[in-house]
């Protein structure tokens, strides 16, 4: 995802902060939009595995994700803003996850919750396990843990809100990701090369 360099804003952040200090509220459509979006992140009601239970726990009384305005777990992807990939994505499941992602309307965000969603986690050795959802779907926030505590998910959500607040309007995002297909031995393709470039491979030969 290469973002075009945002045009220099008419009022710099420093100037804005200065004005605020003097009791003057200067806002822009952009700021208002980002504010609204960041406080109304509706997750998709979509549980995959163990982490889904902690995701549910995060929406329950002890942790109460509702305080952030995010308790509206929408069952239909059309009304959701946030895809929390909460658990192991198997190869059998991966096309569905990508399809769900494609069905969500822009602007949409993705949190990879837990080790499995980030990298395949403890199950990464498995033949049917996708080694990280970021091979197919752009991920905004990674929340590590196995499973992450509900607080860790809330922390991830706060981070996401911060990220949304820093976004510029009109940033083009890849809205549709190609859906992989089932093949005889593996998914085809095994990754979305536009999203996923493996980092430089190994540190030392012959370890």
């Amino acid at each position: 995802m290469s973002e075009p360099a945002p045009a220099a804003p008419a009022v710099t952040d420093a100037e804005r902060a200065e004005l605020r200090r003097h009791g003057m509220l200067l806002t822009s459509i952009e700021e208002l939009c980002d504010w609204g979006r960041s406080h109304s992140v509706w997750p998709l009601q979509f549980g995959l595995a163990c982490c889904a239970i902690e995701m549910i726990a995060a929406s329950m009384a002890r942790f109460d994700i509702a305080r952030f305005g995010s308790e509206v777990f929408r069952p239909s992807p059309r009304q959701a803003d946030l895809l929390i990939v909460s658990g192991t994505v198997t190869k059998k499941m991966a096309p569905m996850v990508v399809r769900i992602w494609n069905q969500m309307p822009e602007p949409k965000y993705c949190i990879a919750m837990g080790a499995c969603a980030i990298s395949g986690g403890p199950f990464k050795q498995g033949y049917n396990v996708l080694k990280g959802i970021d091979r197919f779907v752009p991920v905004d926030i990674y929340v590590p843990g196995c499973p992450p505590r509900p607080e860790a998910l809330l922390h991830g959500l706060i981070k996401l809100q911060e990220k949304i607040r820093g976004q510029r309007l009109g940033t083009p995002a890849p809205s549709e990701c190609p859906v992989p297909e089932y093949a005889a031995h593996d998914l085809d393709p095994t990754k979305n090369p536009q999203l996923w470039q493996p980092p430089v491979l190994v540190r030392k030969e012959g370890a």
Partner: protein, 400 residues
């Protein structure tokens, strides 16, 4: 539109004074037009705000019932949460599925909202505070209200989604089943008041027995039963739990809303809340004395405040019920309507007729009148309830 009560005190007259102040500069023929526009704008503004607040209050009350605070960090105590939701909805991508019927897909939320708003026209919000004083206001209300379910069908059909289609079917079945008890439960009130005009029905509920029991219809045996039927049917008409079958998320994802995103979805949401508000408003009008104060001593509080208070109380009960009850099944829903509510409403018609006929009974006959009235209301409830609940009940268990 009347000129407003002239004998009442200032607060009571405040809405009219405000209106007249706004339009007094206009020439006479335009003034009527402007007055109407102002009424429409006021209703939209007030109920729009109420909708926004209601979403927040619902989330907060649900939270409190569930031992948690609910939204509380967007603005002071989360007061700006609906604003944030609105901004987000407005700026969200609008998706129309390729296989959908784009025109109907667009029209459904618009029509739904339109019909919901129409119902606001005839509800008396205060003394002489009614947008359109229709002679057949109650009839108009039910006609406009029942059109909303057709929009749900439109939405379900045009989405070209299986879940939405099933939801559309359910919406139709629900419409047919519950329109009837809703109407039938309103008929006794019309009988008693002798008018179809909503403001006149409220007027007819003025006055007090022994100085403290208001003459609201709900305080009569038939009125209580009719109120119950009306209230349950209203829950169903506004697709609220436990009758929210068209968007039963545990089986039909989001039902007719499955393919709606962005602001169209928000429109549906808004229309649903508008429908809820207008039905509660009608319940208040028909049974709870409308804008009448519950005590003569409290009549100094302006009438519209009483209406608002009663409306909010009813809405809270709606939310409370939603927080508690699971959902009925489709066949149970229709069975409940046809085998319980409709007979109850019909018997209740007789009960109210008896009540009207026995109007002149006095002294010991008054006690008899009450006894017969209560028997006519409670008896069918118990008997029908027993038939409805046949075969289900608590069980005892044995141990190996």
């Amino acid at each position: 539109m009347s000129a407003g009560p002239t004998d009442a005190h200032l607060l009571e007259r405040a809405p009219f004074l405000l209106r007249d102040w706004l339009t007094h500069a206009l020439p006479e023929p335009l003034r009527w037009f402007a007055n109407t526009l102002i009424a429409i704008a006021a209703i939209l503004a007030i109920f729009g705000t109420l909708f926004a607040l209601l979403t927040l209050v619902e989330r907060k009350v649900l939270g409190r019932v569930q031992n948690r605070p609910g939204p509380n960090r967007t603005g002071w105590f989360g007061i700006l949460q609906p604003v944030a939701d609105g901004i987000k909805m407005l700026t969200k991508e609008d998706i129309v599925p390729r296989a959908a019927d784009p025109l109907l897909h667009f029209l459904a939320p618009v029509a739904l909202l339109g019909f919901s708003v129409l119902t606001f026209a005839v509800i008396p919000y205060g003394r002489d505070l009614v947008a359109v004083r229709l002679d057949a206001g109650v009839l108009y209300f039910f006609a406009a209200g029942s059109a909303t379910e057709l929009s749900i069908f439109m939405a379900g059909w045009s989405s070209n989604n299986k879940y939405a289609l099933v939801a559309a079917m359910r919406a139709l079945a629900q419409l047919i089943s519950y329109e009837l008890p809703l109407l039938l439960s309103a008929v006794p009130v019309v009988l008693a008041a002798g008018t179809l005009s909503a403001p006149d029905i409220v007027e007819s509920q003025g006055g007090f027995t022994w100085g403290f029991v208001p003459h609201w219809h709900v305080f009569t045996p038939w009125g209580a039963a009719a109120f119950l039927v009306f209230f349950i049917s209203a829950l169903s008409e506004s697709n609220r739990s436990p009758f929210d079958l068209p968007e039963a998320e545990s089986e039909l994802i989001a039902g007719h809303l499955t393919e709606y995103s962005g602001f169209k979805y928000a429109l549906f949401f808004m229309a649903e809340y508008f429908g809820m508000c207008s039905l509660c408003g009608m319940a208040v009008t028909l049974f709870l004395g409308g804008w009448q104060a519950p005590l003569a001593a409290l009549e100094f509080i302006p009438s519209y405040a009483w209406f608002a208070l009663k409306l909010c109380a009813l809405l809270l009960v709606f939310i409370w019920i939603r927080a508690t009850l699971p959902r009925l099944r489709m066949d149970q829903l229709t069975r409940f309507a046809w085998k319980f509510l409709v007979p109850l409403a019909l018997v209740n018609l007789a009960a109210s007729a008896f009540w009207s006929l026995s109007f002149g009974w006095a002294g010991p006959m008054q006690a008899l009148r009450w006894a017969i009235g209560i028997a006519l209301a409670v008896g069918p409830f118990v008997l029908l309830g027993r038939r409805l609940g046949a075969g289900i009940g608590p069980r005892t268990y044995r141990y190996a």
